[in-house]
């Protein structure tokens, strides 16, 4: 819109506007993409499009969100997922997942096979994982095979912990 104001005082008549605009330096520097025929109308759309492309590029990211079994939810059966699962409800059965987090109100009973197992609630059964984290509010009962282990003070562990090689 500023381009229009700059050009109009120099060229009062509409005939000279069409002829002069390509040669005048002010216009070329300010908006190089504008065609001489449509000086006033095409200013806003051409300026806006490169900005919006940049924003879209920023928004494209691959952040995987965990699937959540919320409180009050009871699941019985076989569960398999590639990403992460957060359990606040009750899960009974076989679980195969990358990352399993048992929330403070969560309860998991069964056979778990995962990479990272994070226990804040209750777990009973058999688990095989690479990284096991047991927080202070957790109760663990059963067999766990792990590679890396950390247990916070206050956690209750009953059963067997085995180190995988």
């Amino acid at each position: 819109m500023f381009n229009k104001f700059k050009t109009t005082p120099n060229n009062d008549t509409p005939e000279s506007l069409v002829a002069e605009t390509p040669t005048s330096d002010d216009v070329v520097i300010a908006s190089p993409e504008i065609s001489p025929a449509a000086v006033t109308t095409s200013v806003t759309p051409t300026a806006a499009t490169p900005k919006s492309n940049g924003m879209m590029g920023m928004l494209q990211s691959n952040v995987s969100k965990p699937s959540i079994l919320s409180e009050g939810f009871y699941f019985k059966g076989e569960l398999s997922a590639r990403g992460a699962i957060h359990v606040e409800g009750s899960l009974n059965g076989q679980v195969q997942v990358d990352e399993l987090t048992i929330g403070s109100r969560g309860q998991v009973d069964g056979i778990v096979n995962c990479k990272n197992l994070h226990i804040k609630g209750r777990f009973s059964g058999t688990a095989t994982c690479e990284e096991l984290t047991v927080t202070s509010s957790a109760t663990l009962d059963g067999h766990v095979v792990y590679k890396t282990l950390s247990v916070q003070k206050g956690a209750a562990i009953k059963g067997e912990l085995l180190l995988a090689k």
Binding site: V134, L149, I157, G159, L161, L162, L163
Partner: protein, 108 residues
């Protein structure tokens, strides 16, 4: 008396190997090798320490190795360099990341 020594306590230094049983009312610090029965209030196993046998203690802090029957009435801490194998009885437990525990565990 040596200012470093504490009453009712025992210290087994690095390179020392001991076989037998110890009962100390206070503290046992083990940097060497211990084989046998150990009844103590506080047991500290240093990074070079290795303890095998029946252990009864209130507090246990493991930076080295601890094997066989372990009973820790209060708190058992396994540090990141610690290794615990055997039957474990504990009041409270804390395992630092990297600490290794293998065996049956029961909370008392």
């Amino acid at each position: 008396m040596n200012p470093n020594s504490k009453p009712n306590s025992v210290f087994i230094g690095e390179g020392v190997s001991f076989k037998g049983s110890i009962s100390a009312p206070d503290e046992a610090i083990i940097e060497g090798q211990f084989d046998g029965d150990l009844t103590v209030s506080n047991l500290l196993i240093g990074q070079t320490g290795r303890v095998t046998g029946t252990i009864k203690a209130d507090h246990v802090d493991v930076k080295g190795e601890l094997n066989k029957d372990i009973s820790s009435r209060h708190l058992l801490i396994v540090r990141s360099t610690g290794k615990v194998n055997g039957t474990l009885e504990y009041g409270e437990i804390e395992i630092e990341r990297g600490g290794q525990v293998r065996g049956n565990m029961t909370q008392v």
